[in-house]
Symmetry: C2
Subunit: 381 residues, 2 copies
């Protein structure tokens, strides 16, 4: 099926010259046009992003493979990077003599060509990229074999594979790296409907952990609560519940006074401060985002007398600090968890015959995403 | 000399009945009157504290000793406890049929009587109390032998001994428990003129660590900077310096770009937030106080992208979690550091012939302390 899609993507050559990191890309006489979502200056994605075709690629160097992306999600951090508010460098290419940035940090790809010295990878292998900010919003790319992670051949849908590298490992590692939790222990989290939040609920449930989850108020709240409960959430509340003094009493009852020792935060601001009152002594508060754009503000007494420890968690850092073997092990672990596919829609730009039309549809999607509460969007170029 | 002071404190009996924790205190025909600084409701120390005499003590139970306090400091946390804003319980006594609280968390005492089954302690031994909130603003007390820590017999002045149990171990443990620091590493701290701050400067200097210290603006700033520098401070600034953008550049030069990995905080609020900008990746921010009465507020990105970890530190917790042997080992370590005596004055109430006169002098001292920037006051009852 992957190969059928590949055939569908074949397009006539263009005359664009494209160079990426030490000539991995260059012009080539072969006729197989590619596309990437690029930008030249940071700003509102709906204004600055565009779809750009580029020439087919030459065969990969001996230590590299050529991969073709099938699905690449648009994550909140990808948007922050385009906006210029995320402290990492995007992938940079030279396109028609102009420096451009390519968006995208994750996606599922297929190996379509293999360098002569590469071992352990074959045409048709399904892979993800273990190197942050590779620019996955592109069709074909050359990459050093050491920077791809081969996925297990079965047990994982393409949508799950495309979204496996950032959010599920963030959830998994946050649940395992800071506090040793035992069956029956409780975890508190906000932004529970985020991709990470949903993974947290599922992984926690598989481990026999209980979760107290907070989400924003919204029109379809009952449906959301039902769907998170189905994933395994023990309790789901909106932030309004934090104003109710009886909540702490209820929490004590549910937990039979077992202190809550782990809280996961992607919101910050005053609701997050209020949530920490539900934590027990020696708890750890792990932050992986700040959707409120507010700081994390805690009474110093909480640190001192509750012996709270506050950490940040960034999956990028984990990849930088771990070997390819450890990364593949983590992917196997995540695959075995059989997480539910995130609610998603696929933005298939492969049928657009011009870059302009593809750009137009892409920008419309970003305008819609700005309005919030949407499903995760996965790009097909 | 200690014994001479003891003789001086002897006073006629009163008819007060005093009971503390399961009859450790009771009436007794022996004539040796004692005094304590007590209160019956929380509030402003200058309003609610009073000096109260109580009857001599009977011989200690077999597992206990009678100790006589020589000097007991008035620490900021003692004041917070009297104010009712510190989350621990003060020592509680029954005095003339009325429940009272006794202030004081540390002080140096002499063993004056030894229970028949006690080993390892003799009359004349110099000890401190290893049990938080014992109520050290008192003259004679009975205490279980396991709750006292014997001090090394030499190498420590009475003033150093009276102030050894809270602040120097806080400084020592914060410098050793969170980050493994090597000679030449840098430490950042605020409230550098606090008792802990001064101990940090000295211990850091002994370890070959460099310190960047922040203090409040004050009239005698030059003298303060000179005295902290003499203790071993590498740099001393007021918080105003944080507004100067060139500070970060200077810090980079001084440290030769070596990332600062430890910051000690007893202030919180916005100056503390500003200080974290000087920290390097993977830094730890340890809070042991909040003199600004503001929360600790940090951009979530600092946690995530700098991989900052924020902790609280509370020496009380350390004592609760460590054995008497470990406590004595820590006291030996602190003694060996030969820290300078804190700037102090002694409030000697032993010469006051009435509780009323003693109370009057005590309250005047608290009024003066409220005005700030004073020396540490040590009580002699």
């Amino acid at each position: 099926m992957l190969r059928q899609t590949a055939t569908r993507l074949t397009r006539p050559c263009t005359q664009l010259r494209l160079l990426i990191r030490a000539n991995a890309f260059s012009t080539s006489p072969a006729c197989f046009a590619n596309r990437a979502v690029v930008y030249t200056e940071t700003g509102n994605p709906a204004d600055v992003l565009r779809v750009q075709s580029y020439d087919p690629l030459p065969p990969p160097p001996s230590d590299s493979v050529t991969i073709r992306f099938h699905l690449s999600p648009i994550n909140p951090s990808d948007i922050n990077l385009v906006q210029g508010v995320y402290p990492v460098k995007p992938a940079q290419l030279e396109l028609s003599g102009q420096q451009v940035f390519v968006g995208g940090n994750e996606g599922v790809a297929e190996v379509v060509d293999v360098g002569t010295a590469v071992q352990g990878l074959r045409k048709g292998d399904r892979v993800v990229v273990g190197k942050p900010q590779f620019g996955t919003w592109s069709s074909h790319r050359v990459i050093q074999a050491q920077d791809v992670i081969k996925l297990p051949s079965s047990g994982l849908s393409d949508v799950n594979a495309a979204t496996i590298i950032v959010n599920p490992p963030t959830a998994y590692n946050m649940l395992h790296s800071f506090v040793e939790l035992k069956e029956g222990d409780w975890v508190l989290q906000n932004g529970a409907n985020s991709a990470v939040g949903q993974a947290v609920i599922q992984i926690a449930a598989r481990k026999g952990l209980k979760t107290i989850n907070f989400v924003r108020k919204r029109p379809d709240l009952d449906n959301l609560i039902a769907s998170l409960t189905e994933l395994g959430a023990t309790h789901v509340f909106t932030y309004d519940a934090l104003a109710d003094k009886s909540l702490a009493k209820h929490v004590k009852q549910w937990t039979s006074d077992r202190p809550i020792r782990l809280m996961l935060n992607c919101v910050s601001g005053k609701d997050t401060t209020a949530m920490t009152r539900l934590l027990g002594d020696n708890a750890h508060l792990v932050s992986y985002g700040a959707m409120s754009k507010q700081p994390l503000s805690l009474p110093t007494s909480t640190f001192i007398f509750k012996n709270l420890t506050a950490h940040g968690y960034w999956q990028n850092r984990w990849y930088n600090e771990h070997s390819r073997q450890e990364r593949e092990e983590l992917m196997r672990t995540i695959t075995d968890l059989k997480l539910k596919e995130p609610e998603h829609e696929i933005l298939d730009l492969s049928s657009e015959t011009s870059d302009e039309a593809a750009t137009q549809r892409l920008r419309e999607t970003f305008v819609r995403m700005e309005q919030g509460f949407g499903k995760k969007v996965l790009l097909r170029l």
